[in-house]
Structure formats: C-alpha cells, structure tokens
Subunit: 263 residues, 2 copies
DNA sequence: CTTATAAGG
DNA sequence: CCTTTTAAG
C-alpha cells in the first residue's frame, strides 16, 4: 500500500495548475490533502469526484481556510472528523479514514507566528492533540490495527529538517518547544517518523519551500510534512520519497507530496 | 499627432501581461489611461517612468480604484486635475494635459449599476461634467486652442455602438437618459465623436468586451471609449482604429486602445 | 509570493 | 471573469 500526503495550498488553484495530472499519474492507494481551502461544491468535478477514487473532504468553517481531505482507491470502512477538541471541531484540520487494518489520518496543524494569537492557537492545538495521539495508539493497537497520521505538522523536528536552521531558531515551526513537542510524539507517544526512519542521515528531504525569493530553486526548504505511524505499520515502510519533481516546471503548491510504500 | 486611449483595468496587472510591450511598440505621441488602480509608487519602474515618455498619474483617493494617467513624448506645458466638481475632486477620474495647441484629457466616467447608488453617482458626474465641457470649449477656442477628452465614458451612444443593444436597453451604459446625455455632448456642447465621424456606418468598432463568457472571441463588445474633440481638432482627424489585435493572444485589459491620427 | 476573501466593474 | 483589497500562510 502506497500513501501520499501533500498540502495543496488551495485545491482549486492546485487543480488548475497540475495537481489533477499528478493525481492521475500517481500509483498511490491513498492521498491525504491539506489546505483544501474550499467546500466540495466549489471544486471542479475532476477534483471532487475523480474516477477511481473515493473522496472525503472536510472543509473548515471559515471560508477559504484550512480543510483536509483523503482520496482512497478503496471505499472507506469508516470516517471520523476531528479529534475531540471542542475548539478545533469545525476547523477542517483533522480527519481519520479506516481502510482495512489501517487508519489513515490527514492532519493540518495550525501554522503559527511568534508573538501572535496564531502561535497560541497552534500551541493549544498541540497540547490537545498529543494526549489524543497517545490514547489513539492504545486503541488502534488493542484492536490489532495501525494508524498513520499524514499531513502538514508545521514543525521541523531537527536541524537536518530545514536548510537554514540557524536563522530560524526563533521562527514558528522550529521553536525549541515545538521541536520538543514533536520529540514527545516520536518518544513517549510511541509513533515513528517514517521518512526519517528510512533516511536517518540525509538533510531533509524537504517538503515545503516558501514561494518568496528563490527558495525552491535553492532547495532552501523545510521538512514539515510527515507520515507519523504506529510502530507496526512503520516497520512495514519499504521506501519513502518526496516528489519534488512533481513541483518542477508547473509547480502547483508550495509543498511537495511525501510518499511512502508500505509492504 | 497620434493619440491613444485605453482603460487598462489595473496598470500593475496590465504591465505584467503585455501593456509595456504595446507601449514600447506604439507610434502614438500621447497615451491616455484609465483605471490605473495604483499610486505611482506601486507601479513598476517601466510603467512609472518609461524611457522617452513624460508621465502624469492621477490616482484616486480610494486605494486600488479608478485613477487616470497621460503619457506623452513631449513635456506637458500644464497639468490640471479634476474638473471643478467638489464631489469628484479626489476621485482620480479626470486630468488635462496641455501639449502645444492641444489639451488632451483623460476621463474615467463612473460605471453604474441600475437601481444602485453607483448609478446615482454616475448621473451626478454626468450632470456636473456637461456644463464643464460647454464652458471649456468656449475657453479653449477663445484661446485658439483645441481639446480632446479621451477615455472611458461608460456609455454606448447608439445601437451601432454595442453588439447586443436590444438586450441592454435597461442596462447601465445604454440607458435612454445616458444616450441622451451623450447626444448633448455631441450636440449643444459642440464636441465631435471622432471615431464615429470617421466610421459613420460601421458596427462599433467596439472597445470593450466583458471578461465573462466568450464576449471577446465573439466580438460581443461595446464602444464606450471615445476621443471627444472640439471641432477644429476633429477636422484634423485623418484615421482612427481600435487596436483589438493588441488584445489578441496575451490580452492585457478588457478594453482595447482607441487610436486616432490627427494631421 | 501565493492563496483565499470582498467589493468593484 | 477579471481587478483590486485584506488576511493568512
């Protein structure tokens, strides 16, 4: 089973610019999207109901913001929206889809800005989400199942995860408390950073490059999109890649798809 | 002397899309613009100070709205902003530039919408502008000079001036009272519709096509951009054309330049 | 720099 | 259907 995750930065714009071509060509069985930024009715038919795919779209309540989705070739056995936190119930930031013995989640963790209310919102999300992850792992493992939380976590974990880590030590997305929080996800919560586990020593592979300046051409990126799996599924990860080439020429998002093959 | 007038529908967007190429290639001596929708500081240098041109930009007070400009190869002898009406003093809708014995004005008459305050504003503008035109013709002719008011008048005069005149008899831009007002400009005020005078029998030539549907491809346009001249200058008009081809391929505005050669 | 938005056209 | 704006990212 192959799973891809990509923040499309507006599915309507991405669909116009090349996402649909990528979707048509991908060999993935499941595709998680973040920042759909549309309700299903606003999407072109080829994005809302592409032939051969089952589509779950969870828009945010605020028009044109957030929104997650899961495209799967198989018909989901179950779908759950949100993770129980009242504040984020309608925010379009989390959905779980059951596909056989694996639950695939699409997560769009809030992006923050130091010194602003948006950073506080990001922290509240993190605070509520970690205990959920802990509880959820117990549940899925007790049921003999696996969980992979795919998405834009908006945090680079280690120095290898962003090109300019020195210059970003006070930037939201690489703050010590954010990195420590991710360490708890990969530590006490018991999840595995699948791409890093397969590529322990490499810089990146980055999954996001700012549209400003020449960040993409210089590969001055951040690895903030993850597949975060329970250990049983993580052990089945055979290969992983960031589809940076999907962004070459006709770049259709500031993120690139993060794709993992599970045996 | 050749004069062009064109509503650029946002000079920043037009500059990105091909206006600068057109400006570099034109043989015109004077170019009047409407809907600049920017203050000079927001313009790229090639638009704010193109080599070989003197530029007068009159932005509107409301950010991103209206704004007229006159580009001339000769250095203007004088510049006057507005036409004396208090209400429209800072609206970025009228400027006169003296160039030798000819005064060239760039006009952006408000666009209206039937049944709304915007239609009332358009009517107030028309009511104040006609007496100004009458007085101004006396002044310039007494001084042995000429005046041509170039711009987007937002009114089609006669049935020949828009493709779908039957369907637009209740639309702002072709209302009986608007058409009658233009008849007064060309009648009692003593001005000449230069393009119509040179092409008395032809449909159009249209100068504006909606971006909606296939209006441009079907030439379903309106002739709402005029060169309205005092009779002395009008008599010197040798040829006129709408540069519809300037919009082919890389269309950089929903209007096309209206260009007249004066001997 | 790009995506949304809203109002204007 | 395009421009602008403002907010968000």
């Amino acid at each position: 089973m192959e799973i891809s995750t990509v923040n499309v930065n507006g599915l309507r714009a991405a669909a116009r610019k090349g996402f649909l071509g990528w979707l048509g060509a991908t060999g993935a069985d499941v595709v998680c999207l973040q920042e759909v930024r549309a309700v299903p009715e606003q999407l072109p038919r080829e994005a809302a109901a592409p032939p051969g795919w089952h589509v779950v779209v969870v828009p945010g309540e605020v028009k044109g913001r957030a929104g997650v989705a899961v495209y799967s070739r198989a018909d989901p056995d179950g779908v759950r929206v949100g993770f129980g936190a009242e504040e984020f119930a309608g925010s379009g930031r989390y959905v779980e889809v059951d596909l056989g013995a694996v639950t695939v989640a699409s997560l769009y963790l809030p992006s923050g800005e130091v010194g602003t209310a948006r950073q506080e919102e990001k922290e509240r999300f993190m605070e509520a989400f970690l205990p959920y992850l802990v509880r959820r792992r117990s549940e899925v493992e007790a049921a003999g199942r696996d969980l992979v939380v795919c998405g834009d976590w908006n945090i680079a974990h280690r120095e290898e995860d962003l090109r300019n880590w020195r210059g970003n030590r006070r930037s939201s997305g690489f703050l010590p408390e954010e990195r420590a929080w991710l360490s708890r996800v990969f530590g006490e919560a018991g999840y595995v950073d699948v791409v890093r586990a397969l590529h322990p020593d490499q810089a990146g592979p980055y999954s996001w490059w700012s549209y400003r300046g020449r960040a993409f051409d210089n590969d001055a990126g951040w690895r903030i999109d993850y597949q975060v799996a329970t250990p049983g599924l993580a052990a089945r990860a055979a290969s992983a890649r960031v589809e940076r080439a999907a962004s070459h020429g006709a770049r259709w998002s500031d993120h690139a798809p993060v794709t993992v093959s599970y045996s």
